[in-house]
């Protein structure tokens, strides 16, 4: 990712765009923050926010003509916020702030002809920037038409206070001046810049046509004009303010020798791409003060301000536990990830975050700009792998699991017995293959019976773990190896029982025709005669995130349930908007606690038993105690009559063992080949359920324990605790060192704890 790519990615997320009210405000008052403070009853805090952007806040806050209200998102849900009345109420109820911070003197002089709102604003802004400003006014006091406003609306004291503040800021005011072309000429020659306020008349012979609309630069380079009435002749206070501010900005640029025109589109009324959903936002009617002049009563002000939606996007963060967990939003994350990837020396604090996205793609579905956090995280993982910066512990366990599934203990590719080529190839997937009661043999027998042309079988892993881990080369290797075998079988159509396998093959090997088992059953074979378990109550259908864009499969699943007479419900987020079970992207490896939170959140979406169509989804849900069926549980009778929705997550060791057993069973029953079970890696052992759970969480397999026991018992290299009689031994089969504390009871070990580490310690393991 280079700087430009980062910019492009960042640009997509509109979270930092201004709310519509602020964008419509000619001086970009932070209305949202103002409303937040007002709603909290913090009037002084709200006033500070106005003081940040408003010149003469005690004046402008009382009389602004609030064009922002026309842009308020709330207008479609009860009416726009009463921004004008609230600002007025705020400045009436709060003492004026102190003197604004002034920058050191620039040694530049500016004259402003006229004393109405645009001149006052210009003087305010330039005084803050360190200019020496003098106002030239014709009458006996500054303020122009502000003096004509009813004292109930703008009390003379409020105006006097603002003008007094200008004085304290160093602005000189000359009254009783003859403001004409001669004065303008004199001042233009003497000062760095002159501003002419054309409030309602053609002052000094300048007309609007003589002035540049963006810079307000007039006929001479150092003469600037503004303060005209609106095109319809009306007077807009905020427009006057905006023009004074615009002219001040130009003068500042002029004296600094900067371009007068670049990036001026950020001033004044701006465009915003913000998106704020009104979904689930109840309409609440707009309230107004009983007496506009007196303003809102305090409680009424709070209530009206509380109607503000605090507009922002956050659509993706609302639906994603991962995005929520890191307390930001994609635009920010993109920046942080970019910085993380750019670090040469030092800590890469975000590695774990990059490895914690489930890559489920839900963010993209809900994002008004199609931001893909999944793509960003996956690209970053690939980048880390390429540069050798991927933490070894992040995915190693999952990759070893994949190696097991594609190794001699599980991998298998066979034509249907008696056929030397097949038109179909059943690919149940490694996770379903790890389920003790997967019904794979039954499903395979069923397909052979129902489909003409022969059904080959392939046991193995599709490569998803390598894909998710950012190990692109390894992933391509797995897919290529599969493709070679697929070609050798005569390019059969692939029938998968796992949504992830299907998505992986469709994306990485589009020339392999692939379809879900569910679609085949719904459209071609019909359903098996003998039913499986029958849920007692309606089930909630959980679509796998990897099937998000597979509407055909989703429809087939529902059609099958209907045909089976199983009542079902839709989860609030399903189909295209489904949520990940917490397995996707290998988040469980990089961040187990977060993965658990993701699963728990999904499980909480309905009290119903879930119906999953992916073994991993089912097991993840079971892992957090959620009752869940796999669709195959409903289609074929199981080995025992047990309650399928209640069966626990088999765990990693059990999955290995089950895969190996499934392979032996299929070879024996379908192809009449007997294979011996592999010799055990070491002595059998027993553990309490608590220790088993600890082993599972620490990713310690039964085989790791057995190998450690075998090593200790074989070599005698172990410690003995003379108090308890426990042995403690370590062993390093590969990269990780395992420790086991145990006693031997005959030929069987009783294991009290097992732990592991990756660091090499002299005198340990081996």
């Amino acid at each position: 990712m280079n700087q430009q790519e980062l910019r492009d990615i960042e640009y997509r997320c509109i979270e930092e765009e201004q709310p519509t009210c602020q964008a419509a405000c000619p001086i970009s008052v932070d209305v949202r923050a103002f409303m937040g403070k007002m709603a909290a009853g913090d009037v002084a805090g709200a006033r500070k926010i106005l003081d940040r952007t408003m010149p003469l806040p005690g004046v402008l806050g009382r009389i602004c003509d609030h064009p922002c209200e026309l842009a308020c998102i709330r207008q479609n849900a009860g009416g726009a916020l009463a921004v004008g009345d609230l600002e007025r109420s705020c400045v009436m109820a709060s003492p004026s702030g102190g003197k604004p911070m002034l920058m050191p003197s620039k040694g530049k002089t500016v004259a402003a002809l006229g004393g109405d709102m645009s001149s006052l604003t210009l003087a305010w802004d330039l005084a803050k920037k360190g200019f020496a400003v003098t106002l030239y006014v014709a009458g006996d006091k500054p303020g122009g038409k502000l003096n004509d406003i009813s004292p109930d609306v703008l009390p003379p004291e409020a105006l006097a206070e603002g003008i007094d503040m200008l004085g304290r800021m160093g602005v000189a005011i000359k009254t009783g001046q003859t403001v004409d072309a001669a004065l303008l000429d004199t001042l233009a020659a003497a000062c760095d810049a002159v501003y002419v306020e054309c409030a309602g008349r053609d002052l000094c012979g300048l007309s609007r046509a003589d002035v540049d609309a963006v810079t307000l630069q007039g006929p001479k380079p150092n003469i600037f004009c503004g303060g005209w009435p609106q095109p319809d002749g009306s007077r807009s206070i905020i427009s006057l303010v905006a023009e004074g501010r615009r002219a001040a900005m130009t003068i500042d640029r002029l004296t600094a020798g900067a371009s007068l025109t670049t990036s001026r589109e950020k001033e004044g009324v701006t465009k915003t791409r913000i998106f704020t959903s009104l979904k689930d936002v109840p309409a609440v009617p707009r309230t107004e003060p009983a007496d506009h002049l007196a303003g809102f009563a305090p409680d009424a002000a709070k209530a009206e301000a509380a109607r503000c939606l605090q507009c922002d996007c956050m659509e993706c963060v609302k639906v994603c536990e991962f995005l929520k967990h890191y307390k930001g939003y994609p635009k920010l994350y993109a920046r942080q990830i970019y910085n993380n990837l750019s670090i040469v020396l030092g800590n890469h604090y975000l590695n774990r975050m990059i490895d914690s996205c489930t890559l489920c793609g839900l963010c993209t579905e809900v994002c008004p700009e199609d931001f893909s956090m999944a793509q960003l995280c996956l690209d970053s993982r690939r980048d880390m792998v390429t540069r050798g910066k991927m933490p070894p512990s992040a995915h190693e366990f999952a990759l070893e699991d994949m190696a097991f599934s594609n190794g001699p203990d599980f991998a298998l590719m066979r034509d249907e017995p008696g056929k030397d080529s097949c038109t179909h190839l059943f690919f149940p997937g490694c996770q379903l293959g790890g389920e003790p009661d997967s019904r794979i043999p039954e499903a395979y027998a069923f397909l052979r019976r129902k489909l003409a042309g022969g059904v080959a079988l392939s046991l193995g892993c599709c490569g998803a773990p390598a894909l998710w881990a950012g190990r692109q080369a390894l992933f391509e290797e797995v897919v290529a190896a599969f493709k070679t075998q697929w070609e050798a079988r005569g390019k059969p159509r692939l029938i998968t029982a796992c949504a992830s396998c299907l998505a992986v093959f469709r994306q990485a090997a589009p020339d392999i025709p692939a379809v879900s088992l569910w679609q085949v059953m719904n459209e071609e074979t019909g359903l098996p005669e003998a039913a499986g378990c029958v849920p007692a109550a309606p089930v909630a259908v959980h679509d796998s995130c990897t099937s998000r864009h597979d509407a055909q499969t989703q429809a087939a699943v529902r059609a099958i349930l209907k045909k089976r007479g199983v009542p079902f419900e839709e989860l609030p987020l399903s189909g295209r908007y489904t949520e990940c079970c917490g397995f996707g992207g290998l988040v469980g490896n990089a961040h187990p606690e977060l993965a658990k939170a993701i699963t728990t959140r999904r499980a909480a979406a309905s009290d119903r038993d879930f119906l999953a169509t992916c073994a991993m989804c089912r097991d993840r849900l079971a892992h957090v105690g959620k009752r869940a069926y796999h669709l195959l549980d409903l289609l074929f009778p199981g080995k025992d009559g047990a309650d399928a929705a209640a069966r626990p997550d088999p765990g990693f060791s059990m999955r290995h063992e089950t895969r190996a057993r499934l392979r032996r069973e299929l070879l024996a029953t379908v192809w009449n080949e007997q294979v011996d079970a592999k010799a055990p890696a070491g002595p059998d052992f027993v553990v309490s359920p608590e220790v088993r759970a600890v082993m599972e969480a620490r990713h310690i397999l039964d085989d790791d324990v057995k190998r450690t026991l075998a090593h200790a018992e074989g070599t005698g290299r172990k410690f003995l605790d003379r108090e308890t009689g426990h042995f403690l031994a370590s062993f390093t089969p590969h990269r990780v060192t395992y420790w086991v504390e145990y006693v031997m009871e005959g030929g069987t070990a009783r294991v009290f704890t097992a732990y592991s580490h990756r660091m090499t310690v002299v005198g340990v393991g081996k």
């Binding site: 030092g346 800590n347 890469h348 604090y349 590695n351 774990r352 933490p391 070894p392 512990s393 992040a394 620490r698 070599t715 005698g716 290299r717 172990k718 410690f719 003995l720 605790d721 003379r722 108090e723 308890t724 426990h726 042995f727 403690l728 370590s730 420790w739 504390e741 704890t753 732990y755 592991s756 580490h757 990756r758 660091m759 090499t760 310690v761 002299v762 005198g763 340990v764």
Partner: protein, 71 residues
Amino acid sequence: MAESLVYLPQSGDWICCSCGDPLEPRDASVTYLEGGFTIQVLTCPRCNMALLPEYVAMGKMLEVEQLLEDK
């Protein structure tokens, strides 16, 4: 140089099974990726087999492992 940190088992009276000797605290060097340091753990004086307690492996050591992985 600061003294290396000492990590003894939290309980037990440990001996080396092969040598039959009681253990004594000794320096053991620990390395991972580009990093390394020295700690003191119970070690068999005869065969040098070292005992790394669970609380160290799953605590401090895991922390440092992750820090080094993020370097």
